[in-house]
Symmetry: C2
Subunit: 250 residues, 2 copies
């Protein structure tokens, strides 16, 4: 009873796997809510009612609730039992940690990119950069291309499995960036991306590392500048029960 035998015969692990769409409502709701949280359609601190979301999305509470549990594990939502669910505030410490993790992983991965990288992936990265230059006005499109670019670099290093952790950290960074990223041109980032790739292909990890570090730091500096300007958007690092009233919309 406690020790169940492994599956016999055709195990799902051995079957198609590739041709398996299996789009459950839970997954659809998860993707949608995650998009709204990162895209600031749901601002930090906003309450998320399971009943309301279920009604709006045309499903029952179950898939909504399960999606919220997944988002809570991502750190994007906080669930207070018997009280309510809320979009996580932008925690300064969490943003810092996300930046730290991303920087550590992405810089280390540069060392594992072979001297003869997969030409197919390189071509994708080139095409991606070309698109970045065209999409510098569309923040959503730019973030999408940005994700694909950094994902591609990890694929070059054969560390695609770490992408999940990186993208989870990146979610918090992007949310913070989106709060006040209007005065800086996205073109700067595209230039930095191009410099990183060029240095990598010509000089290897040695030359690419300082450029990558500068790029990731530039992203982080943007967030720090925003925090200095609008500290109220960020949650206190270790919250004493402050109980000051939050500004009320409307």
């Amino acid at each position: 009873m406690t020790a169940s035998p492994p599956p016999q015969g055709t195990h799902p692990y051995n079957r198609s796997m590739s041709t398996r769409p299996t789009r459950t409502n839970r997954r659809t709701v998860y993707d949608e809510l995650r998009r709204r949280v990162i895209g600031l359609d749901f601002g930090p601190g906003a309450p998320l009612s399971e009943n309301e979301l279920a009604a709006e999305l045309g499903v029952s509470r179950t898939p909504v609730r399960e999606a919220l549990i997944m988002l809570a594990q991502d750190g994007l939502v906080q669930v207070f039992p018997k009280v309510g669910s809320f979009v996580s505030r932008v925690d300064a410490q969490r943003v810092s940690d996300a930046q730290f993790l991303r920087e550590a992983v992405e810089l280390a991965s540069l060392d594992d990119i072979p001297a003869d990288p997969d030409p197919e992936v390189v071509a994708e990265l080139r095409a991606n950069l070309a698109q970045q230059e065209l999409a510098e006005d569309d923040l959503d499109q730019f973030f999408l291309l940005d994700e694909q670019f950094h994902h591609g670099l990890l694929r070059l290093a054969h560390h695609e499995g770490t992408w999940q952790s990186v993208v989870a950290a990146k979610a918090h960074l992007d949310r913070a960036r989106r709060l006040g990223l209007h005065d800086r041109s996205l073109h700067d980032f595209t230039v930095q991306h191009t410099e990183v790739l060029d240095a990598l292909l010509s000089g290897g990890a040695e030359e690419a590392r300082p450029l990558m570090r500068a790029h990731l730091r530039a992203v982080f500096d943007d967030i720090e500048r925003l925090r200095a300007r609008s500290p109220e958007l960020f949650a206190p690092s270790v919250g004493q029960p402050t109980r000051r009233n939050i500004a009320v919309w409307e």
Copy 2:
């Protein structure tokens, strides 16, 4: 409707937070199942029936199901819709990526440990090492102390927020280690831990880094040796629909 206003008055974020136990059944089940998966009470590939688990644990399907969803996000469980839920096999690529992420984060964190580290945490680490020497026969106890040790190092670097990602990666490593970690004495690891801490406190990150790298590599080498010896415990990196029959227990 789409843009809910932020909470008014006393927001849960402003309340106790510290004195909030809130142990739901979901959390209890999650902790228990995670312990069993990592502790190999549920072997890789074992089927996990929601109904069976619910009956055994004395709860309904709901908390069990939600716990499985959380475990699936950790990569420890795979859920195939309308088919079944299974403990993830030990994927070689995933173990490699987990090792890579852990190494990148922990090595980078050494640089951020101040020259005058928190004496309280240092004392905890010393006490932890003393306990390690006493617990070298109890694998469960050793893994617990090992976690606390590496967690403490991250706390010294003020990057405690990354612990969640590290412990998620460590779960896959520990599971792999547990499969065949019997021929090597745990004492070696305790010695390595001590060397890392001593070097850190006397010579800083410069001296600690190579020792930490050696330690993490030693853990990884253990796993690689196991894979060479018992490849059937590992899932194929990119699964072609192999359909070979898995060895059947009992």
